[in-house]
Subunit: 139 residues, 4 copies
């Protein structure tokens, strides 16, 4: 049972994302997920990346797992769906799940999960997520 | 006096496009121009990249000049405008002009021009642009 | 207990790998691992990527997990170490482990594992690893 | 007649540099040139990028022209040669020439030139090149 909202960002494959097998290069799927999280921070969670920076905070990616199910090709449109699975037990991070779907067919191309820690940019150390931020991310 | 149509593609900066100075990395502007041409081939000139490939043809970039006027930052939306300046004298290519404008302010970030040759993919050699393609590109 | 050889590839961070936090952008670590595997195929396992292609075969990445331990910065040299952990039970793939170490300090920056399936490029389907290839990868 | 020294940096194509035509993606040649300049700043001109940053200075690319002569492919080694053609008349920049050669054949793949302005990072404005830096770049 997932208790947190799922959010969607629609994107399109750029020619420079394509690799020698005519498909999206595998590391670019990761860039799509990161781009969707960036978009959703401001648009869905109501606190932009820039606002985090102004408060001296940033989300630092500590781990990611990706399963490649079906490739995307040149020019294809796709949906990146992400959601918070849980707040990490230490109180300083979140586990995010994600999936990418091809717009034309609705078929799944990628799924996986990532862990982010909240970092104090001045010290580069993880800190407990402040209550107001935790509240914004609890939707 | 420009006799060929100008076409526009709207795009947005992805986080992976940003460099250590917090601006779009300079080579990524080139990717934006290439992505806009790809988009405009199908949408504006009526002959997609894929159709070219099926006919055993491809556009090969032989030269590019870019002037960097003003940087784009994280998440910014921008317009890539491109148009054919002229068909090259040898009959096997086109000179394309382009410019990138920041959506929020309408200010110019980049301008420049590129030359593309039409290549027979089987031989990797430039060939005269067939009349039907020249006609599509003469709008 | 690891029974397969560990191989190393030394590389250096390129300026275009750096992100807005002045560190290597997270998806580029994945590119480093893929580049090291490419290098080690020819140099260490004795069968280059190109030879696979000529036989109509390719390794397709089906899953990857990466743990980000410590960032790399501009210009830093690093070692990418990879090794086969096991042949997958279905006989059509391998599980590879990898780690990245900073040359200047010997400190670990990244570790993780990936699964590759051997693909028949004509059908895009996984196939059993032929004995001669399995033998090369069993060192 | 060229009066400034030519410097060389050897590099190798990474798999993530390859595009759908099996060659290095055109914008990556630009990354190779920028990487070579970064390397040569410290190694050849005796003043590293990081030292510039510490003095509050940075080189900002204002224009580039590239001519694509012959493609590089997967795994190929190449030499990036760059040199200062002239100090710009306004005293705040340099014009750099560059060329890329395939190691295996010595054949030319790319040539071109770029203009860099010296920027005060605090104001983002071009400033006259200080005499000590001009002296280092006059070799």
């Amino acid at each position: 049972m997932n208790i947190h909202s799922k959010f969607e960002t629609e994107m399109q494959v750029r020619p420079d994302d394509i690799d020698l097998f005519q498909h999206v290069h595998s590391s670019r799927y990761m860039d799509y997920v990161l781009a969707a999280r960036y978009d959703q921070m401001a648009r869905c969670y109501g606190m932009s990346w820039e606002t985090f920076i102004q408060r001296g905070l940033g989300w630092y990616l500590t781990a990611i797992t990706m399963n490649f199910l079906r490739p995307l090709g040149l020019g294809e449109r796709f949906m990146v769906r992400t959601w918070i699975e849980e707040f990490l037990p230490d109180g300083d991070g979140v586990r995010v799940r994600f999936e990418i779907e091809k717009q034309a067919t609705g078929k799944r191309c990628l799924n996986g999960h990532a862990e982010y820690k909240l970092i104090n940019l001045a010290t580069s150390r993880a800190i407990p997520i402040p209550e107001d931020i935790k509240s914004k991310y609890s939707i």
